[in-house]
């Protein structure tokens, strides 16, 4: 027998040590998130999964489930906060969706649709970020990085290569690759790496196969992200 907690009023079973996020996912319930991925250690940085557990705000991806706890998830208050967090991510980088290969399959974009984000709202930072096209098979467009560190975790924990890391601090935090030249081509990265396909947005892209799926048939054209993840 496993214990249960209440997510927006409905019972969700969990096993001891499981996080609210993992249990919700196992039960087919969607808690918006960007930096969480079932294959990797929770990170807790995007804060989109902030829920209210027994009246206290907490990130669902790092919060251990407790029997009988009451978790608010898709309330107007929490979704408002999530929308603001998304707006922050949009203005922090350069997201020009019409020219992005990830459009239609991008988690940032899809989550913004789910939360009905009509505008980035804030003044844009328009940062000056580079594109690294040095690698024969992969392109890095840093303009779209949301610092979720999934590539960092995937390269370290799944590929054993440590190709990516974060440097800088505060708003100047940014992704770097593992070579003094700063070029992806000079790292051990390969197209077959887990890190090559883990990016939730359009930073790490395979070369030579852009825009293969027609508009209307892309992943989140077919289904809104909440519905897509609720299964």
């Amino acid at each position: 027998m496993s214990d249960v907690f209440l997510l927006d009023g409905e019972q969700v079973p969990f096993t001891v040590g499981q996080t609210v996020m993992a249990a919700a996912r196992a039960a087919g319930r969607y808690i918006p998130h960007l930096c969480w991925h079932p294959e990797f250690q929770p990170h807790g940085s995007c804060r989109l999964c902030t829920v209210k557990a027994d009246g206290h705000f907490a990130a669902a991806c790092t919060l251990a489930a407790r029997p009988g706890m009451t978790v608010d998830n898709r309330t107007a208050e929490l979704d408002d906060q999530r929308r603001t967090l998304l707006q922050m991510l949009f203005v922090e980088g350069n997201h020009f969706c019409p020219s992005c290969e990830k459009s239609g399959a991008c988690k940032l974009q899809a989550t913004a649709y789910e939360l009905k984000m009509m505008t980035p709202h804030f003044d844009h930072f328009f940062p000056d970020r580079a594109v690294d096209a040095s690698h024969p098979d992969l392109l890095l467009d840093f303009n779209r990085c949301i610092l979720c560190e999934l590539c960092v975790r995937a390269s370290r924990d799944a590929d054993g290569k440590n190709v990516f890391a974060i440097t800088g601090r505060g708003i100047k935090s940014h992704l770097i690759v593992n070579s003094p030249s700063g070029r992806l081509a000079d790292t051990a990265m390969s197209l077959a790496d887990r890190a090559a396909s883990v990016c939730p947005v359009g930073v790490i892209l395979a070369k030579g196969r852009g825009f293969v799926i027609p508009i209307g048939e892309r992943r989140y054209d077919r289904q809104q992200i909440g519905a897509a993840e609720e299964q």
Binding site: P42, G44, S45, C46, R47, L48, T50, F57, A59, T62, A64, Q81, T84, L85, M88, L89, V91, E92, F122, D123, F125, I146, L147, N162, V163, F164, A165, I166, T167, G168, R169, G170, I171, K172, S173, I176, V177, N178, S179, P180, S181, G182
Partner: protein
Amino acid sequence: MQAQSASQQAEIVANILQRQRRDPARLVQVLREIDEVLGELTPEVLAMVGEQLKRPFAEVAGVAGFYHFLELEQRARYRIFWSDNIIEQMQGSTELREEMCRLLWIEPGRASEDGLVKVGLTSCIGMGDQGPALLVNGRTVTRMTRARVAAMVELIRGGALVGNWPEEWFAVADNIRRRDILLGRSYKAGAAIAAALARGPAAMLGEIQSARLRGRGGAGFSTAQKWQACRDAPGDVRYVVCNADEGEPGTFKDRVLLSAYADLVFEGMCIAGLCIGARQGLLYLRGEYRYLLEALEANLARRRAAGLLGRDILGAAGYDFDIEIHLGAGAYVCGEESALLESLAGKRGVPRNRPPFPVTHGYLDCPTAVNNAETLAAACLIAENGGVCYAAIGTEMSTGSKLLSVSGDCARPGIYEYPFGVTVAQVLADAGANDTQAVQVSGPSGVCVAPEEFGRRLAFEDLPSAGAFMVFGASRDMFEVARNFAHFFAHESCGFCTPCRVGTALVKNLMDKINAGHGSPADINELFKLQRLMESTAHCGLGHSACNPVADTLKKFRPAYQRRLHSTEFEPAFDLDYALSQARQMTGRDDAGAHLANES
């Protein structure tokens, strides 16, 4: 610090690595030392370090890029950082810094073309009682004046070694103005340890318990509870960590403890070690207090020689304890205990997810008690006099005494020790502050207190404080105070979580917008919205409290904002006419159509 050849560089790096035992956990120490000697950290040097410590290049570069004092881009023989706290601005630091740049013909924040000098800013360096202050190549200079600026510029131009600069520039006064139970007694080295030993670990912990000692780092957590949990945590190796990061602007009491009462802090660490069963202590000293390092190391050496550190302390078989000092490298967030532990392990100072807590998974994942330097010093008092005696001082909920760092508009800035429960008004009177408009208690993360609240008491149950007490006279502009703090948080956000990384930058931009006369009531609403968001969604205490000063001043000093709002309608954050400046310059036009009026 002359340009080195590649082989010389390699040799220097190799020597430093050798001295740091090639310990990957000492990466921050390695980088800091290399930077101090070479004056820069190039990709080649970082690669060398990574290779030798068996850590990926990207990780090493990621760590180096986190700390403000590690220089990755522009090398300069003289690196000057002016302390940028509001208190120093009130003392005229901005004008002095501009004067320095003018005399040196350089732009602020950028190294001169010849690589001679760079003049930048840094967060409060803990010298508010004797500012304006700055760091030059890591050394603290206090009491800057126009004359000192001029003389310093001459020395820099002449290439004089910083070590040969006038000794009095580097003098740091303790400025102890009021002593109570902690600072008022005379101590004999070893006495507190002997007293603790005589009681034995369990009884000593019991005394801490009956003293009801609470942490002085800000949160006021029960020290006995922390030590007990650490003592009970499974594991063979335990650590005591002394938090001397003291990054909260306006706080400088740990500086004085470490310069005048270092024995108390070290003995407090030994006592903690005895209570929890640790054999190793680590003192995390903020990089800004680099100037204290030699004296502290010498003190440790003396204590070892006297049998007060090392094996079988005071002859007690099996009571082994030693202390190592780690230096920070310019990161306020590293005062947060879990970020501090990351930094101690040679990583980026990003706060961890909790649980697990440091008492079970601390330094290198071993049970660790992290305590503020003042908390540890207080433990000595309890060891010698017992907990009951200690608990008789202060208030019911806040026992003992508290060190306050008083700075700003008052006649006698410095350190004041009071029993807990003293009123704000009392402190102001003792410090010679007249016509006070506001007091920022416990730094930017704390509370801004207005005159009608000066009867409130400094105690955990009323006005908790980590020690800062910044006084603002009637002529000060409280908006400027809040704007300075907004810049501080934007500079110090670690960047890990979205709300704080982007939110602190947005708040800073909004405050600058209002300051530039482009603000409207809509911007004030934005500030409140960001405050609510950051308070509820940020990952650590820095983000939770980053909007406190703005929210506090908006509540208590709203006219200071309102008189800057030039419009009730939304306005752009920038000057539209200025936005045509580049095109005007390139076309040479200056006709009416080449200008835009700001509306409203």
